[in-house]
């Protein structure tokens, strides 16, 4: 019996101790009518050897194409040490550190994580992770509405330069509590928030403005102006940021005169594998004054009976297991192991390493954009500064070109023509530090062929 240690004599003596005649008798409180006959739809069990072979074969089917995809999930180098340590049984198979004395490893690690991510974002306090970047945006909107001292508004502005999937998650999550998301279009030259359109909201009672930096197109927003404008208009400001970019870019805590109020983002770039979309982790930092409105677990440093330093979960009165229906969120299990990986990643990279990753990604993307945009029928959609993504516009169907590239073993980017039809046949490309000049050349040459194979529209 896989994973069940009982021998026949164990079963016999245990039943005797219980005073039951059979294992089945232990289910005697369950109405007979409800009992399951069998699970014919489930295949018979496989040995580890068989499943190992099956999974290896399926993995081989998927292959390892050269990818220039980004759009919220980024391929970065992950030091071997990160997962070698993260998958140690003591992290991997531990429970939430409710028993602090038996969980100092996890707790201290979270404390160290909170320190790093707070500093990276320029904020004062952090929680111990949320599900992912999308759900973090939703939680931030809910939190802003809850934390806003002067407004009871349920309206939050979330411009189209924010990742469309984040907007969807925010809508499907926070919409249930009556939050209303207002949209602002993007301005077409630099691909950033249309400030004029935003200003139309001046004077209205709105809880918060969400600003993504770099935005979904990879372009850099004028964060100081936006932040100050929103604060003056009485809104809180929620920043959505790529943590890698913060090695180079101004941290949300310093945006505008006062810095943002809540900062969230997708933690995946910090040592978490792409893995078809998860598990990743959402991060959230805020000002100290809002800490009691924050969802999720928080670790604090304290002392033990003998005065020694120790770590424990704190401010639990915000959480569902204490406050139940009045908690700041229903989140319980979070993405602890991914945060562990990120903490080790940030420790290995350090400020210098992370800056090098950011700079190299920036440089490679600029190299990529130059190499691709000179091809016939290709142009760069937006001018102005960007980080490690860019939108290119084609004179023929993006989808068909991407399919052609796939045949060369290349995933050429994300087709934006569905989410942003207003941009035409637009393609979002990304190059991180993992791409070499040779890779870029290979892409450009394959694209040359693909463009020939697909007729211009």
């Amino acid at each position: 019996m896989p994973f069940i240690p009982h021998t026949d004599s164990d079963i016999e003596s245990m039943l005797a101790t219980i005073g039951a005649t059979s294992v089945d008798a232990l289910f005697d409180e369950i109405p007979q009518s409800l009992r399951v006959a069998g699970l014919e739809g489930i295949p018979l069990g496989l040995s580890e050897m068989e499943i190992g072979r099956l999974m290896s074969e399926r993995a081989r089917v998927d292959g390892r194409p050269l990818s220039f995809l980004g759009a919220g999930a980024y391929e970065h180098h992950i030091p071997s040490a990160v997962w070698a340590i993260t998958t140690r049984g003591e992290y991997y198979s531990a429970y939430t550190p409710y028993q602090a004395e038996a969980s100092q490893g996890t707790l201290q690690m979270i404390y160290e994580y909170q320190t790093m991510i707070s500093s990276l974002t320029g904020m004062q306090v952090s929680n111990a992770s949320l599900y992912d970047g999308g759900s973090a945006v939703a939680e931030a909107a809910l939190m802003a509405v809850r934390a806003h001292r002067k407004s009871k508004s349920l309206r939050v502005i979330i411009p189209t330069t924010v990742n469309p999937n984040y907007r969807r998650v925010a809508e499907s999550t926070a919409g249930n509590q009556g939050l209303r998301f207002e949209t602002v279009p993007c301005e077409r030259t630099a691909g950033v928030i249309d400030f004029a359109a935003l200003q139309a909201f001046a004077g209205e009672d709105i809880a918060a403005l969400v600003i993504q930096q770099p935005n979904f197109f990879g372009q850099l927003e004028d964060i100081d102006r936006l932040t100050d404008w929103a604060h003056e208009a009485g809104m809180l400001v929620i920043a959505v940021v790529n943590p890698t970019s913060l090695a180079l870019l101004k941290p949300p805590g310093e945006w505008g005169e006062r810095g943002v109020d809540i900062c969230v983002g997708e933690g995946q770039p910090l040592g978490v594998p792409l893995s078809s979309g998860g598990p990743y982790f959402g991060f959230m930092t805020t000002r100290l004054e809002y800490v009691r409105s924050m969802p999720g677990r928080i670790v604090g440093r304290t002392v033990d009976l003998e005065g020694r330093t120790g770590y424990t979960l704190t401010l639990q009165a915000r959480e569902q297991h204490i406050r139940r229906g009045k908690a700041t969120s229903n989140i319980c299990t979070n993405q602890g192991l991914l945060m562990t990986a990120a903490t080790i990643y940030m420790s290995l990279l350090g400020p210098q390493g992370l800056a090098a990753v950011a700079e190299t990604s920036l440089a490679r993307t600029s190299e990529l954009v130059s190499a691709l945009s000179v091809l016939p029928g290709m142009r760069v959609a937006f001018e102005g500064p960007r980080f490690h993504e860019a939108v290119l516009v084609l004179d023929r169907p993006v989808a068909a070109v991407l399919t052609e590239l796939e045949r060369h073993g290349i995933l050429g980017g994300v087709d934006l023509s569905v989410d942003y039809p207003e941009l035409g046949q637009a393609l979002l490309v990304c190059a991180t530090e993992t791409k070499t000049s040779a890779d870029i050349t290979r892409y450009a040459s394959a694209l040359g062929h693909a463009l020939k194979a697909v007729r211009a529209a």
């Binding site: 409800l34 991997y92 180079l248 604090g300 297991h321 993405q335 192991l337």
Partner: protein, 498 residues
Amino acid sequence: MNQILEKTIFEYSRPGRVAAAQCPPAADAALVASAKATIPQALQRRDAPLLPQASELDVVRHFTRLSQLNFSIDTNFYPLGSCTMKYNPKACNQYAMLPEFLGRHPLAPASQGQGFLSCMYELQEMLKEVTGMKAVSLNPMAGAHGEFAGVAMIRAYHRSRGDLARNEIIVPEAAHGTNPATATMCGCIVKEIPVDAEGDVDLDALAKVLGPNTAGIMLTNPSTLGVFERKIEQVAKMVHEAGGLLYYDGANLNAILGKVRPGDMGFDVIHMNLHKTFSTPHGGGGPGAGAVGVSARLEPFLPVPVVSREGDHYRWLSEADRPLSIGRLSAFMGNAGVLLRAYVYMRMLGREGMSRVGEFATLNANYLLARLQAAGFDLAYPTRRASHEFIITLKRQAKELNVTAMDVAKRLLDYGFHAPTTYFPLLVPECLLIEPTETESKETLDAFVEAMVAILAEAETDAEKVKGAPYTMPVRRLDDVRAAKQLDLTWKPVDSAA
């Protein structure tokens, strides 16, 4: 356990130190400079973030040593009620971490992911079968997230029928905190109802709260009291007749796997904690996965994406295919890597292994119950069968010996056992909710009983000893009050002497 306390990683840091092998190879300096020059000064960072400047060895050593300060399934028995801390097979991790799976981008086309998608599709199918539901979505990233999806679907269902008033969610008082919290997250009003002396739902109280505003009821069965809700069919009938739907909190699915199916009990929607029943790791707090299953009438509302098979080809269904969907709960598709682990686990168990889970989880719980009862511990529901878990109450000891459930829990750590769940459910005073799971051997259970007996003896002869526990952990009991009052949530450079 490493008795030498470990300083923080920041105290290993020295200006200019760097784990050089981890820095990307220097790109052409001119290229970098010109790319950086495109970014206005005002958008650039001025001061470096407070990340450690440490060597690779220091980082490895620090986090390895830290890990040794933890209890974990791989090192300790963890009879945590409601949490299902069972063995996490190493194979699940190894095969979910094959380079091709790890490297696959979430937006890679389905044509570059048929291997992965076939696993997801089969996982959906298997989850349908074990739960008796008609359709499954794998998106939610934890139990509470699945609850959210479930209640949101219930609301969407009523709304789609124009039944707009239904915004009340009924939960038993013993429910897990995420149940009421979820109802609130979904903009619903929570109605708590009591349970009777034997732990079943109080039907009179239920009848009273049911009405035209009833959206639904959230139950787990067996309940968090560790007993099977015997009147479940009646409850289902009453709620359905009142126009409400039934939500099944799958946290306790381990108890009944292969024995009874929520779908057959009358539930309309269910979440499954794959990190409990299907043995994906808890990871010191996550990640989990909270797949949801629904009856046919809720299928259109399932969160997207969902994998479909068309001939030999697998693809994601999205908003376009499911216009009534409650939408997207994750930027991509949820915790794919966790789902792969659950898939591997389910395939290893297979049809026959699946029912054994419920059987042996129940056998272990009832055995532990019998032995602890014989050893003088009081049961919260002495007339009932244990399901996969059961509750003992230390009310008597608290009164007579001044030793609380918390004291016993802390003392257990000294004996090498993680404490059971304490003070949950809240309605049982001084309770320990004990769930051994099916993967623990009789010898381990016996050793746990011995420890409990020893602690009881200590409580009788030397209560202070128990109250002062733990003694052998890296730290003694921690000052939680101070932690909450004198908030110290991030390390600051001046601390370095601390």
